[in-house]
């Protein structure tokens, strides 16, 4: 009788350990999966940049510098071998440059009204919205993972598996501030 109770307890404890182990792995994979979707969408946006540059080039003679800048940034982002920190910084710079182009377009009513440009703008808006959604999904997955890593009892298991807190995808200070147009075109 005592033996059976012992086996019962052992099985029960074993199940809990399995559960925690698998749960942690699941949460880790969710984070990676969510990051991959952010990454895919960022690439999708990079793909739109050449089209945008081609569409605005003939109109925006004065902003040639900005256009060259964004093309260079895109090339860098796609070149591979970029660390994730660098990727985030590059992406922030691209955000800034794109914002600048969109503001500058206001000065060219003809360009702004053209079908081609409007279609591009829609596509860009779409991707931005999707990126923001993917970023939020990523942050939610990371929060779940971090909770599991820090909360009892899963923190013990996480310690043994050498899992550490992960970073959230944060919007940098510079991006939160209002866009300063004159500043943008100095680059």
């Amino acid at each position: 009788m005592g033996l059976w109770i012992g086996i019962g307890i052992a099985v029960f404890v074993g199940l809990i350990v399995f559960g925690m182990y698998n749960g942690l792995i699941g949460k880790k994979n969710d984070c990676e999966n969510a990051f991959a979707s952010v990454d895919t969408l960022l690439k999708k946006r990079y793909d739109l940049i050449p089209n945008l540059v081609a569409a605005v080039k003939q109109y925006m003679e004065h902003e040639r510098g900005t256009l060259e800048n964004i093309t260079a940034l895109r090339a860098k982002a796609l070149s591979g071998g970029v660390s994730s920190d660098e990727a985030v910084t590059l992406n922030n710079q691209i955000n800034k440059a794109l914002g600048g182009i969109m503001v500058a377009v206001e000065n060219y009513p003809e360009l702004k009204a053209s079908d081609n440009f409007q279609q591009l703008q829609r596509s860009l808006n779409e991707v931005e919205e999707q990126i923001s959604a993917a970023r939020r999904a990523f942050n939610s997955a990371v929060t779940e993972f971090n909770n599991a890593v820090e909360m009892f009892p899963t923190n013990i298991m996480a310690g043994m598996m050498n899992y550490k807190r992960r970073q959230l995808f944060e919007i940098p200070e510079a991006e939160r501030q209002n866009v300063n147009v004159s500043e943008l075109f100095k680059a």
Partner: protein, 323 residues
């Protein structure tokens, strides 16, 4: 949106004369009701006295009361049915046109049962489906339609004597709204009023996660939104693409403004909104005067509740790839 002041002058100019007509009809209905109703009651009373003198069997009493009840119900239907329909065509249609001349109103139309089930908001089997007061049209760039809907399912039980008893339970009663959503998407996202989390807090979330009849739980970052709603979806990223921070805010504000149970779903490129209300909307009253601004203002408010959703959820903003 037009101001209340405009509606007041519209009421005086366009609605009051029509209401006066219906007020006269209403009075004649009330007098007919009292005459015929009085006759039925009198006959029933005489029959009852006669029955009670001759027999002590209480079943006989029902043989008098049940037909009398049916007669009165029939009388009610016969006298008011056309009146209600005409009233809706004349008055409600005018108020709908006041809100937006582009909108169309059909008193007997309704959101179809297949549209209702396509929303996936309500999972129970539907045994009886009714609806009326369909409003449809395009507000700005957004095609939309809504109507009153009452969906029920039945349960059958047998009592100790083996008699079958059928009971009807309401699945949903209120306004059901469908509009073309302003973003493109493939999956399914459902926003339901949150009951578990309100009752059990953190543990409620565990319960929501185990809800097998729904898709995956989507945890959103707004604590206020999470307190009021539980979100389920087929795709975590897509759910957040649809429920942008601003849309969450808008849904929350809409819920607070209306003060009713709100459920929202996003399926097949449409947005479905179910507003649970208790009263039967857009009906004329029989025993009180129709010549009242408050009554008509009430119709307007109910109609605006639904037709305003397009604005409340910002569906006319078409800056994404879907036009």
């Amino acid at each position: 949106m037009k101001s209340d002041e405009e509606f007041r002058s519209y009421f005086k100019k366009a609605l009051k004369p029509v209401l006066a007509e219906f007020e006269a009809k209403r009075k004649s209905i009330v007098s007919k009701l009292s005459i015929f109703g009085g006759i039925i009651v009198a006959i029933a009373a005489v029959a009852l006295v006669f029955v009670l003198r001759n027999t002590s069997d209480m079943v006989a009493v029902f043989f008098v009361l049940i037909p009398a009840g049916f007669l009165i119900a029939g009388l009610w239907w016969w006298l008011t049915h056309d009146f209600v329909h005409e009233f809706k065509l004349a008055v409600i249609a005018k108020i709908v046109a006041f809100i937006d001349p582009e909108l169309q109103y059909q008193p007997t139309g309704k959101i179809s049962r297949s549209d209702f089930t396509a929303s996936t908001l309500f999972k129970q089997r539907i045994d009886r489906y009714k609806g009326e007061d369909l409003v449809s049209g395009t507000v700005g760039k957004t095609a939309m339609r809504f109507s009153e809907v009452h969906a029920e399912h039945k349960t059958e039980t047998r009592d100790s004597k083996g008699r079958r008893k059928t009971r009807w339970h309401t699945i949903f009663k209120g306004l059901f709204f469908i509009a073309d959503f302003n973003k493109e998407f493939k999956g399914r996202t459902v926003v339901l009023p949150d009951t578990a989390e309100k009752l059990f807090g953190r543990f409620g979330k565990v319960l929501q996660k185990m809800n097998v009849s729904r898709d995956d739980l989507v945890k959103l970052e707004s604590p206020e939104f999470e307190k009021e709603f539980a979100v389920y979806g087929t795709d975590q990223v897509e759910a957040r693409y649809i429920l942008s921070t601003s849309l969450m805010e808008r849904i929350l504000n809409f819920k607070r403004k209306t003060g009713v149970q709100v459920s929202v779903s996003f399926v097949h490129s449409n947005v479905y909104v179910a507003l649970q209300t208790r009263k039967d909307m857009f009906e004329p009253r029989i025993f009180r005067t129709l010549l009242s601004f408050d009554l008509v203002a009430d119709y307007l408010e109910d109609l605006r509740l639904a037709s305003g959703i397009v604005e409340d959820l910002n569906l006319n903003t078409r800056i994404w790839t879907k036009e």
